[in-house]
Symmetry: C2
DNA sequence: TTATACCCCACTAATATTGTCAACATTCAA
DNA sequence: TTGAATGTTGACAATATTAGTGGGGTATAA
């Protein structure tokens, strides 16, 4: 029941983009150093995020990545789903597969409640929320 | 972000024990057939559940397993934690490790909210709830 | 005494995770 | 114009985890 590094690293990187949100593209190298992550690995994650329209890229020297919209308009859920796929605790919840032989699986009902609860949390937090809360904590 | 088969199968098996809760021990073989699971695999899961005092065993012929208390006094959370360990989306949330170099990791705040939300759901559902809900659905 | 169960441990095949690496395309700035 | 900086893509590999299988025990009811 762990979130993989894809989700965690990707979210950390997106947080950095939100923190320095503006007109200047930010290079992968900078983000990787700032957050202590592998640049090559982040590349893969950013390709997903770009495919899903959360970031845009600027090629060439002084290039880098930018959020496609304001941090307040990007949710943690959008980021995590782009990186991890749907955040369901089992296949049967995500699609409509039956993983058990049971016609009416009791476990599935529980899993669906877990999924709903996770969705509810991640869809209600935006990148801006993360930035605000972090700045608040750091100023203490 | 998937629950492993340990958690799913184990919960299905515990549900079966709850469904047939009484004085008679229920054999692994019966549960395995009923739910379409591997008997040998279930053995491993049951050893965890027993270690954590959720079930007791009766050896010998006509033996099997029994819940140690009523279904209403066993939560899904207790079952899943026995099988999967703590249900945290990352190490740093479970213990007090820092997985990032950041002093004040923004992602960690999000992960903690996810964990709290999951805990909240699984600790509020008992095996009895699962039984009641399933019987209700099946009677339709 | 024998069939039926739980008990325990070792082992493995398949899959997913977590990256690394190399070759290439595009753009900016000197 | 040229080279350095940067994104793009796809292949590859080490490691860890998952999802079991199998076998040799022990206890007990019939
Ligand atoms: S149908 Fe997926 S756990 Fe039951
Ligand atoms: S400290 Fe664990 S994700 Fe940041």
């Amino acid at each position: 029941m762990k979130l993989s590094t894809k989700g965690r690293y990707g979210l950390m990187a997106m947080f950095q983009l939100a923190l320095e949100f503006g007109d200047e593209p930010i290079s992968l190298k900078y983000i990787a150093e700032k957050q202590g992550l592998s640049e090559n690995y982040l590349e893969q994650l950013f390709s997903n995020l770009k495919r899903d329209g959360l970031i845009q890229s600027v090629r060439g020297a002084q290039g880098g990545y930018l959020l496609t919209r304001e941090p307040k308009d990007i949710t943690v859920g959008q980021v995590l789903r782009s990186l991890e796929g749907h955040l369901a605790p089992a296949e049967c919840v995500q699609h409509d597969i039956d993983c058990s032989k049971e016609d009416n699986c009791a476990t599935k009902l529980v899993l669906m409640k877990i999924k709903d609860s996770i969705d509810n949390v991640i869809d209600s937090i935006t990148l801006e929320d993360m930035v605000v809360e972090t700045l608040k904590n750091n100023s203490n």
